[in-house]
Symmetry: C2
């Protein structure tokens, strides 16, 4: 395949589609609710037939490298507090999508190169985790840390990975199992940008996905020369730090610098979703966390659904700048980035006003961004029609 056919994202060794991962796990038991957003297992932990378990792992991915660059340039290790948040939210907001909002237990794993990553970084990661969990508890989410592991593996990494595992027990009857994600629903998009009630600074909307491409497409060759430990030797050099910016440069049409925007901690929607579920869980027919594979994530859920997204929220300045600098097609941009909303609520059309009002009370912009209808494919496969700048982009899995 040529670079163009492969896509810039895949050419860097990062597949938004993750084909070989999916083919490796396809033979595995899909759990007791195969249509749910997370794998749900029987209640191995206590053995109750009425309960079920979710143990979920994810992390901050290559966003840790951005924090590393900032830390090396400025000496400011506190930037890693945001990475601690990213790692937790990548788990927490997946859990939300099955309705798991109570009694969450977290464990963290840090794999670091101790030559490059100091004890001061560990301190910020560990304290940042504790502080963020307290913020969540203050906002009504019962989440606690059970500890974690820090491994010194300089032969494996030049920098570090920060991963978390979240475990929860819930009632089987309360699981959002995917069966209600059907044709005939409205889709509400919850903005990934701005400032939610529980956030202390402006959020660029970036989240924790697509950061490999965002970093290389925006940042300048200055970083290529100075930090060889931060990129893959196997990737085409023309795709490594091929942008024009330094972290301290201003992001056009924004109050943030490039570094602040790229390092903006991933928003959690947990306090908002918890409030909605406590109010009336029946209003929610589906929740999709637009993480890996961005706006096309929905294609994996529901059956026989045509997703129509024809009224998206405004695209935040960071994504516009990434597209402009990289020349990435808009079609690929929506496959890699959330592009403005990272959480979708699927509901009956007559419930949208109440749900949007909940979001706005939390300081989160929200609107009906589209709807579901019956698949127009002969085999009733899920597909997505997404309107960008007046043109409809078509996606299948």
């Amino acid at each position: 395949m040529t670079l163009k056919e492969l896509g810039r994202y895949a050419a860097r060794g990062v597949s938004a589609k993750k084909q070989d991962v999916h083919s490796a796990i396809d033979k595995l038991d899909a759990g007791i609710f195969p249509g749910a957003f997370c794998k749900v297992t029987p209640d191995y932990l206590t053995g109750s037939a009425k309960l079920c378990n979710i143990t979920h792992s994810d992390g901050s991915g290559t966003k840790s490298i951005l924090a590393y660059l900032h830390y090396k340039e400025t000496g400011d290790a506190s930037v890693f507090r945001g990475i601690a948040i990213d790692s937790i939210v990548m788990n927490l907001d997946d859990l939300l999508c099955v309705g798991a909002i109570e009694r969450i237990l977290i464990s963290n794993t840090i794999n670091r190169n101790p030559h490059n990553v100091s004890g001061a970084v560990l301190k910020e990661l560990i304290e940042g985790t504790e502080d963020f969990l307290q913020t969540l508890r203050d906002a009504g989410i019962h989440i606690h840390s059970g500890g974690g592991e820090t491994a010194d593996v300089p032969d494996i990494t030049g920098t570090l990975t920060v991963d978390s595992c979240a475990t929860v027990i819930m009632k089987r009857k309360e699981v959002i199992n995917g069966n209600d994600l059907v044709p005939g629903l409205a889709i509400i998009g919850l903005s990934s940008y701005g400032k939610a009630a529980w956030e202390s600074s402006l959020n660029s909307g970036i989240g924790s996905n697509g950061l490999t491409s965002a970093r290389h497409d925006l940042l300048s060759p200055y970083y290529r020369g100075k930090y060889p430990e931060t990129y893959s030797k196997e990737t085409d050099p023309s795709l490594i730090y091929c942008g024009t910016y330094k972290l301290s440069d201003a992001l056009p049409n924004s109050l943030q610098t490039i570094g602040e925007a790229l390092l903006s901690p991933t928003r959690t929607y947990a306090p908002l979703i918890a409030r909605i579920l406590h109010d009336d869980p029946r209003k929610i027919k589906g929740l999709i966390h637009c993480s890996g594979s961005g706006q096309t994530k929905c294609l994996r859920f529901g059956m026989g659904v045509h997703f129509v997204k024809n009224n998206l929220l405004p695209i935040p300045p960071l994504f516009i700048e990434i597209q402009k600098r990289s020349g990435t097609t808009w079609e690929e941009m929506y496959r890699v980035y959330n592009m403005g909303h990272r959480m979708e609520i699927y509901c009956k059309p007559n419930h949208t006003d109440t749900l949007i009002s909940h979001a706005k009370q939390s300081g989160i912009d929200a609107q009906v961004i589209g709807y579901t209808e019956t698949s127009k494919k002969d085999d009733l496969a899920n597909h997505l029609s997404l309107t960008h700048a007046g043109k409809v982009l078509e996606y299948t899995r």
Copy 2:
């Protein structure tokens, strides 16, 4: 510090003492049983005052690089099945030490460089996990997988990390909390080598600790030239693949090759410890998993204890060869490697015969390797006297 003062292990960026990790976590809440081997928290998962939770993370560390070398040299990805075992056992055998042997839920995280690590490797890791969990269940250990995450992070690693998180709920009154690890006990060592009843091939005893040093000290510069993605650019080149062996060479005084010995999957003691605990939990006063920091791990547990290890099991050929080739002091060898037993049972002297007989029925060599007495230090700090070749080595924390 000079290389000699620092120690070969620390000079490679891998600290057996993990000082800066401990200093970063020292401020954290130590859980409800601060003297226990694992952090134990209140029962956040179900909210019962009689129960508690453990969520524990660890992984295969740099042992994955050895599997990578074997895989690249031979094309045989099945070697990664052993890495899946290593990652699970590093958690499971820590859990044993608090008495957690029931209803364990596992999640896995793989961070890989997809340029170098194929889907075939993922398949073996994932299927190897499932097969090993089935082996454990067949041996009476109720352990299940709840899924996991595979992240493509080529800018972070040239190879891969394989980590796991294990979660369990147990009765507070059944936790081995460390309070009974006192002077006046016998110490039984359970061999790390040989072939346990649930193992399918000979075990070298290596486990999953000290593999960075073992790999570099034994393997030849052939690997330095051919696989630059497998070592840290920050480490003194004289410490990188500075041995003489290829993986396919024979290990002296052994039936195994160097590769087979280094890649020998970490033994779990779970079926044996479960049998002993089911038989009579009161016989066990303490369990120490001699993982990171090897034979000095015990120093972190119990209070006012002088550990005397004066009758150790024979040192397996692999450790003898590592010492011989590297010139590492015996004092450091015991700080880095398990040297022959990876699990210690602390019990009353009159119970040793029964416990040793349980071990031998499981195909695990075992003997009384020493005892505990009151600390001889003025401040009653824990210390260890370990007899090697007729000479007593002294250790403090």
